[in-house]
């Protein structure tokens, strides 16, 4: 598949050449600074819009997979009336749930839009939905971390 070849080429290209590693300290430091800033930008983009971090690096297959997987989990979880936690939680578990839900970036608001009637965890379905939503957030954070590592030139 062409996009997979792109991913491999991208990973090979992103590995720092020996000349940079052995260059003058000032140049290497500037390169590292730019690369680090770019990697953070990629990670934040990947967090805000699932898959964007990989798309910016032309990893099309991974971008599409992350976008669809996180999207399916959020839409199904919200449609099952899972609990989307808010910032004004009552205890530490609510706060943890909020952090996990926020991990899906902009899709958190998609979930709120889908869940028009609010959460209903009195049934098993709603409870499963809560897990789906939290998993979507954590999965997106994992994908953003993966994109960050790839942008830094680590094998990913």
């Amino acid at each position: 598949m062409p996009d997979e070849n792109n991913e491999i080429m991208q990973a090979q290209e992103s590995e720092p050449p020996a000349a940079i590693a052995e260059g003058p300290p000032a140049t290497a430091s500037a390169n590292e600074g730019g690369s680090e800033a770019k990697a953070w930008g990629v990670a934040i983009a990947g967090w805000l819009i699932p898959g964007l971090g990989h798309a910016l690096q032309r990893m099309w297959g991974r971008a599409l997979a992350v976008f669809l997987c996180v999207g399916v989990l959020v839409v199904v979880g919200a449609s099952m009336r899972g609990n989307l936690f808010t910032s004004n939680g009552n205890d530490a578990f609510d706060t943890l749930g909020y952090v996990a839900d926020l991990g899906s970036g902009s899709f958190y608001f998609l979930g709120r839009a889908v869940e028009r009637n609010g959460a209903d965890v009195s049934h098993a379905g709603g409870d499963y939905g809560t897990r789906f939503l939290a998993t979507a957030g954590v999965l997106n954070l994992l994908a953003a971390l993966h994109a960050y590592e790839a942008a830094r030139g680590r094998k990913a």
């Binding site: 997979e4 297959g61 997987c69 839409v75």
Partner: protein, 64 residues
């Protein structure tokens, strides 16, 4: 595209959907080559099923 009403899934359907989606994500993030990805997705999916059903049976004696 986006469901307008609430979705009702059985336990097994939710379990299979969860295992399938997470396996696909792990496969794409964890492997580069298409063949490796397919094998990893299938392996992860089977492990999800085995461990999930195993935990379910392990909890069965305490369910009542």
């Amino acid at each position: 595209m986006i469901p307008q009403g609430p979705i009702t899934l059985t336990h097994m359907q939710a379990f299979l959907l969860f295992a399938g989606v997470i396996s696909i994500a792990f496969g794409f993030l964890g492997r580069r080559q298409p063949k490796d990805r397919v094998r990893y997705i299938l392996w992860t999916f089977v492990l999800f099923l085995l461990i999930g059903i195993g935990i379910g049976w392990a909890m069965y004696p305490f369910s009542r």
